[in-house]
Symmetry: D2
C-alpha cells in the first residue's frame, strides 16, 4: 500500500497548541483510496525540522507529502505555490535560532514550485464549501524552510514523490485570545479540508489550467 505523509508542527510564538499538528494527527493511520496516511509532528526549529522530515521520508517512503503549518491571521486554507531558498526569522525559533538572510541549501536553486495540483485542490475545497486559495509566499520562517527542504529532498532523489505545503488559519480558541478581527477555522473544517485536498491531489496527476494568480 502506498503512503501519504502528513506533517504538522509543534506550537510556537507563545501559542498553547499548533493547529497543524492537531489536524494531521487526526488522520494518522487512515486511508484515502488505496493510500495509507502517516502523520508526523515536527519541531518548530530551523535545521531540526528538516532532519526529522528526512527521517520520516526514509521510514515511510511516501508517494505524496503534504506539510502543514499555522498561518495566524489568514482566513482560508492556503495552498502554497513556491518555496524560496531563504531563512529570515522575525522571531527566534523554538531552539532559539534566528537566522537572517541565510540560504537554506548553500548551493540550492532560488526556489522550488510545489508539485501538487494546487489549482485542482483549491477548486475541490471551494466546491466542498471550504474557503481556500493559492498563496505565493510561505514566508521566510520554519514553514518555508521545511517546504523548501522537502522539495529539495524530493528533487534530488525521490522522482515518484509529489510534495507541497498547506497553511491553515488559527483555531477559534486561538483567535479568541487575539484582538478582534482575527479570523479562524474550526478543527473539523480543517480536517475535512485535508481529506478533500488529498483526494483532489490523488485524482489529478496534472493540475487544472484555471487562474489562481494575483496582480501583486
Amino acid at each position: 500500500m502506498k503512503t501519504i505523509l502528513l506533517t504538522g508542527f509543534e506550537p510556537f510564538g507563545g501559542e498553547p497548541l499548533n493547529p497543524s499538528w492537531e489536524a494531521v494527527r487526526q488522520l494518522d493511520g487512515q486511508r484515502r483510496g488505496d493510500h495509507q496516511i502517516r502523520a508526523v509532528r515536527l519541531s518548530c526549529a530551523f535545521g531540526q525540522a528538516l532532519t526529522e522530515l528526512e527521517a520520516a521520508l526514509a521510514q515511510h517512503q511516501p508517494v505524496l507529502v503534504l506539510a502543514v503549518g499555522q498561518a495566524g491571521g489568514r482566513s482560508e486554507l492556503s495552498l502554497e505555490r513556491i518555496a524560496i531558498n531563504l531563512d529570515d526569522a522575525r522571531i527566534p525559533d523554538n531552539a532559539g535560532a534566528q537566522p537572517i538572510d541565510s540560504p537554506i541549501v548553500a548551493d540550492g536553486p532560488a526556489a522550488y514550485f510545489t508539485t501538487l495540483p494546487i489549482k485542482a485542490m483549491v477548486a475541490a475545497l471551494r466546491e466542498a464549501g471550504l474557503p481556500a486559495a493559492v498563496s505565493h509566499s510561505a514566508g521566510t520562517y520554519v514553514c518555508n524552510h521545511l517546504f523548501y527542504g522537502l522539495m529539495h529532498e524530493i528533487g534530488r532523489g525521490r522522482p515518484g514523490c509529489r510534495g507541497g505545503f498547506l497553511h491553515i488559519p488559527y483555531l477559534p480558541e486561538q483567535a479568541a485570545r487575539h484582538p478582534a478581527g482575527t479570523p479562524s477555522m474550526s478543527l473539523s473544517q480543517i480536517v475535512r479540508g485535508l481529506e478533500v485536498g488529498l483526494d483532489a491531489a490523488l485524482h489529478h496527476e496534472r493540475d487544472l489550467r484555471i487562474s489562481g494568480g494575483t496582480t501583486h
Copy 2:
C-alpha cells in the same frame, strides 16, 4: 416557563442562505435552564421585519430577545452595543426599498443601548474558545433597523424584557464563494456561541465592568 426569543433573517444580498436563521432555528424549542427558546425567521425588509418582530413579541411574551444577523466580513461573534435611529441603505432590501437618511421612529430617541450584559457575554464566549467582541455599530441597514425597533418596543411597554443584537460571520460555504481573505465561522461554532451567550445573559442581571471600548 419563561421564553427566550431568537430571531434570524432570510437571505439577502445574493446569498443562498443567511447564517442567522440557520443558527437560531437549531435552538427552536430547546431549553436553557428554566427558559424555553423560540426562534423566528424575519424578512430582510425595512418595516416588514419590525411588523413580524412585534407579532412574535406579542405571541411569545419573551423575557429576553436576541436578534441575530449576518455581518459578512467580520471574523467573530459581535455583540452590538447600540442601535441608532437611522435607515441608510447601501443596497435595496428584499422588498426593493432603499431608504436614505430616514429615521426609523419619527420622534424616537437618537439611539438605544442594548440591555443585555454584553461584556459578560463576550467574556464567556472567549472563555469557551469562541472569538467574540463588542461592536459599536450595527450599521444602517435592516439589522440596525430591527435592533432599534426592538429596543424601542421594549422601552415603551415591556419593562421585564431585555434585548440585544448579535452579528455573526459568514458560514465557510459562503466565504468559499467570496475572495480570499473573507473570514467565516462554522455553523456549529455559531450555535454553540448562541448557547454560551444566552447562558451568560441569563446569569448576569448586571454587566461586568471590564473594558470593551475602542479609541476610534
Copy 3:
C-alpha cells in the same frame, strides 16, 4: 465676521505627535469665504477636553465647529455620523483616567447625530481626489467623548451653531514606525481635506440625499 472653530488633540498612546493638531493649526487665522478659522489644541483627557472646548466655544462663538481626531489604522478622512453617551476606555487617557461604561452626561440622550452635511462633505472630498467616507462609530474614547460633549453643548444653547467630528489617518511618519499594512495620509492632503470639507459644509445648509450606509 463669523467664526469656524477647529479643534485638534495633543498626542496620546505613545505617539510623538497628533496629526489632528498638526493639521488644524495650519488653518488657524485663515479665512474660508467670509468665515474666520480659529484652531484650538485640546488635552487628550476625559472631562478636561470638554472644559477646554467649552472655553473655546465661549470665547469664539463659532457658527461651525469641526472637531478632529486621530484614528490610527483608518485609510481615509472619516466624517462621523453619531456621538454616543458612553465612555469605555481601552487605555488610560493622558491624565491617567480609564472610565468604563460611564455616561458622558448623566441624564443626556443616548446619542447625538452630527449637524454637518457629511454626505455633501464626503462627496466634495472624493471629487477633490481625497479618500473619504461616512463612519458610524467614533469609538468610546476621548474623541467620542468630545464629539458627544460638543453636540450636547450645541443642543442646549447654541441654536445657530453646527458641529461634527472628523477622524483622520496616521501621518506617514507615524505609520513608518508601525507594522507593515498600516495606512497613512500626508499632512498636506489632510489640510487640503479640511479646506474642502469646510467649504462643502458652508455651502450646504441641508445635506445631500445619497447613500453612505453600511449593511453592518
Copy 4:
C-alpha cells in the same frame, strides 16, 4: 556618468493613471550623486513589457535598475525580495493576453532574488518617515513578469548591474474612487521615497543584516 534606470507602467485594470509612471517620470533627467536617472514607461503587457525593457537596457546601459509598479491595496512602499518564473494572470493584460501557469523563461530558474540592498532601503525609508516594508511576493502578473525578466537579463550578461522592483500604493485620487478602507500614498511621498531608496541603494553595496521576514 553612470545611469540609473527607473521604469513605470502605463495604466491597467480600469485605472485612469498608473502611479508608477507618474512617480518615475518626475525623476527623469535628475541626478543622484554622480548618477543620472533615466525613466522609461512600459506597456502593461506580457512579453511587450520585457521587449521594451531590453531596449532601454541596451540604450542606457544602467548600473542600477529599479522597476516600479502599482500595488493597489498596499499601504506602504514594498521592496520585492524575489521574482518567480510564473505568469498566472487574474485579468487580461492591456493587449488582451491572460497566460495561466506559464513560465516566463522556458528553461529559466524557478526564481531570482533581487540584487538591491532592500533591508538598507527599507531602513532608510522608515528613517525618512516613509512607510516601507520588504515583500516576498510580487504577484504573478506583469509586475512579476517584468521583475523576473529584468533579473534574468542582468544574470546572463550585465554583471555590473543591480536590479530590483518596488511596489507602490494607489494615489489618493485613485483610492477616492475605491471602497472605504483602500489605502493610498501621495505622489510627492512616493517620489521622495524613490529618491531616498535610490540613495540607500547607491550607498550600500552589501545589504544590512536586519530581519525583514514573515512567519508565513
